[in-house]
């Protein structure tokens, strides 16, 4: 069931102005439709273009497709979140429902919120668009994940695996690197209670 959590504003890079956006918990048919009918064709198109842009292809080109939609529709597996602006899904986030436990030494074994996915619409991504549109969707979702962690009394602790081209951004947000996850083949990051407090108060 979709629930409205609050309104914030994203920046429209093209106009330079902030625009009203809404953050939701739970996805509905509109979000799934936005992904299938609008995001996906864009992504596939860009992936094909990248394959022949040798100088731009510093990262994912044709990575394996992950069928998250089926799992997300089964709410037992993921807690889902979306940010919408201009009547379109601009960002999606999936957080594992199952408890995950911290690997970072300073909080080893403590429950944290594991972010399975943070994805922003292809037209908002500097990697895919020469003129990316909205800025702030990823940031808003990360802060929402911390809020969810606090809601569960997990004190803001979160964990995630970053795509290679996003690693420096997660460093900047104050997350700590915990090493390469051999299963996911990505760098795993965590945020402690202290990191989360600093982040939200910065």
């Amino acid at each position: 069931m979709k629930k409205h959590l609050g309104d914030r504003r994203l920046r429209n890079r093209l106009t330079g102005e902030p625009e009203a956006a809404s953050i939701f918990q739970g996805l509905d048919e509109k979000n799934f439709h936005d992904f299938e009918a609008v995001w996906k064709p864009e992504l596939v198109k860009r992936a094909k273009e990248f394959a022949t842009w040798a100088k731009q292809a510093e990262g994912n080109v044709q990575d394996a497709h992950w069928d998250w939609v089926g799992k997300a529709k089964n709410e037992a597996v993921y807690e889902s979140f979306a940010i919408e602006c201009d009547s379109m899904t601009q960002g999606l986030m999936l957080v594992a429902t199952a408890p995950h436990f911290a690997r970072l030494k300073s909080q080893h074994g403590l429950d944290l919120c594991y972010i399975e996915l943070i994805a922003t619409a292809p037209w908002n991504r500097p990697k895919f668009s020469k003129a990316p549109k909205y800025k702030g969707a990823g940031r808003a979702l990360l802060a929402t994940a911390i809020s969810w962690s606090v809601e569960l009394e997990l004190k803001g602790r979160i964990g995630l695996c970053s795509l290679p081209e996003s690693e420096s951004w997660y460093d900047e947000q104050g997350m700590q690197r915990c090493g390469f996850d051999g299963d996911k083949k990505m760098e795993y990051f965590e945020m402690t209670e202290e990191d989360a407090g600093k982040y939200l108060n910065s």
Binding site: L43, G59, R125, P126, T144
Partner: protein, 177 residues
């Protein structure tokens, strides 16, 4: 649930944060559906991924031999980790990072898309590339120094990779308006 960040906070962050990717978790990109439908690309089972990687490992090793470089020398010149390079050359269960593939493609001037497919990072692979890769690996011996025949086989594979990339590129440009 309460959102623990204000709009002011978000605007400040937006203003000061750099313009880079913020994605976490697996990539959502699927294979081009039309290529699967037309039979040009196929979904790869694991054993085929292993065969591709054997071809990739042999290829990297032989290119290195061709250029008379030791493994540490190549790692330095291509700006990649020695350990990862060793894994690529010798371990078909190893999935090379996108960065390594990119650096090797630049260093050896080989088409990136094809190397990506050889690394097993793609869900699908072009049939012709797969067939050529398997043929190449079968005819190559990555243990002995490159003989004249081996060099011919290597150059043949290089030519195929370049040709496939050119064909893909001209099709793209043909599709553009």
């Amino acid at each position: 649930m309460k959102l623990l960040f204000s709009d002011e906070w978000l605007q400040r962050k937006i203003a000061s944060d750099p313009d880079i990717e913020t994605e976490a978790g697996p990539s959502l990109i699927g294979p081009p559906i039309e290529e699967i439908d037309s039979g040009k690309a196929a979904v790869m089972p694991t054993r085929n991924v292993v065969q591709m990687r054997i071809a990739l490992g042999t290829f990297v090793h032989q290119l290195r031999q061709r250029d008379a470089l030791t493994l540490p020398e190549l790692a330095t010149k291509a700006d990649v980790s020695e350990n990862e390079l060793r894994q690529v050359e010798t371990n078909p269960s190893y999935t090379a990072s996108p960065r390594l593939i990119y650096k090797l493609s630049r260093y050896f001037r080989m088409p990136l898309n094809n190397l990506y497919q050889l690394s097993g990072r793609t869900f699908t692979v072009e049939r012709r590339l797969y067939n050529e890769a398997v043929k190449y690996a079968a005819h190559s011996d990555d243990v002995t120094p490159l003989s004249g025949d081996q060099l011919q086989v290597l150059n043949g594979f290089v030519a195929v990779l370049n040709q496939l990339a050119e064909e893909a590129s001209s099709m793209e440009h043909g599709d553009h308006d």
